[in-house]
Amino acid sequence: MAWTAPPVAAVGDVFGQRFWDPLSRQLAVLGLRPMSSVVASPTTTSLVNNNGNENINFDTVKVDQDPTGMPIFDPSRKLFVCRTAGWYLGRMQVQWVGDAQGGTLQHGWEKNGVQIMQGDRGNPNRLQGWPVMVVTFLSVDDTLRPFVWWQPTVGGAYGTHQTSLSLQADVPSANIRLVSL
């Protein structure tokens, strides 16, 4: 669904379909603002270290609406698909279950497979969570994927041994919503 500029009327115009249809469409977009929220529950997501950007196990859709009637969240690819073009705000929060391996924890956003935003912290061997937000313009069919990535340190250097680290259950969440056409 595309935004069309609201009609401008002049004296003498008849208020018919030419005015009614665009007003109606615009109200439909604003009234059913594109938005999708998902959470990962009830299981934790276990990650392999230094394995590139990985999906979060989002398995519960809390809100998913778009004036096109099409779903925004794709449960198989664990990402959001734009159905109505515009400026979107993405917000995600991940709670990491830390361990003693140190290193870097990161979560963020990929747009069409390219990383465009991330938040990093160290791995302090305790629970730690923080949000990562992004603003971007999405065209129809563009994708926005929340991802997680981590890499431990071993003996002061980044390690590559295959050890997993978990995200806390019920905490990971992600949302995108249209904030401007």
């Binding site: 609201p6 400026w87 705000l89 937000m133």
Partner: protein
């Protein structure tokens, strides 16, 4: 374009062109509300124990019905052009500096004098993000907001320029 209270009509009333244009103008304001977002593509060194305003050098988007720019990429200041309730999100991404002491902080400062929101985390010798979220509050025309940071690691620490890791967005929520 500014907000005009939509007309209320009674049976038998005539619908004038001005009534239609009022609806169109209000819809435009709601669909393309005041909003600006900018991020860093250049690093910035932050001295130890020195609150510092950040200049976000690259404007992602900037729109206001007045036609005036909200964000000034030379000063790092967001200026309210249309009164209303606004929310904001931001993040400061720090580089490692060899120190694991002190704190890493981010804030949004109003009118150059007081922080309206602030986040504080343990300083880590690693790339580290400091996100900050300002929930909706009301502002008047001319109010200013700016992303700000602070660190007390014991040495200078650099704010990073990866992707949009250091950014702020100011968003109109309601009249």
């Amino acid at each position: 374009v500014s907000w005009v209270t939509p007309p209320v009509k009674a049976v038998g009333d005539v619908l004038y062109a001005a009534d239609v244009n009022t609806l169109s103008g209000d819809l435009t304001l709601l669909a393309t509300p005041p909003m600006a977002s900018a991020y860093k593509t250049a690093t910035q060194s932050i001295a130890n124990v020195t609150g510092t305003n950040l200049v976000l050098d690259t404007v992602l988007m900037d729109q206001d019905p007045t036609g005036s720019a909200i964000y000034n990429s030379g000063t790092g200041v967001f200026t309210i052009r249309t009164a209303g309730a606004y929310s904001a999100e931001g993040q400061v991404q720090w580089q490692a500096n060899g120190s694991s002491t002190g704190t890493a902080q981010a804030a949004i400062r109003k009118n150059g004098t007081a922080n309206v929101v602030q986040s504080v985390a343990d300083g880590q010798n690693i790339v580290e993000s400091s996100p900050v979220v300002m929930e909706a509050q009301r502002f008047v025309v001319g109010d200013t907001l700016q992303l700000r940071c602070f660190q007390d690691s014991g040495a200078a620490r650099t704010v990073d320029n990866q992707t949009q890791g250091t950014f702020m967005v100011l968003r109109f929520e309601s009249l």
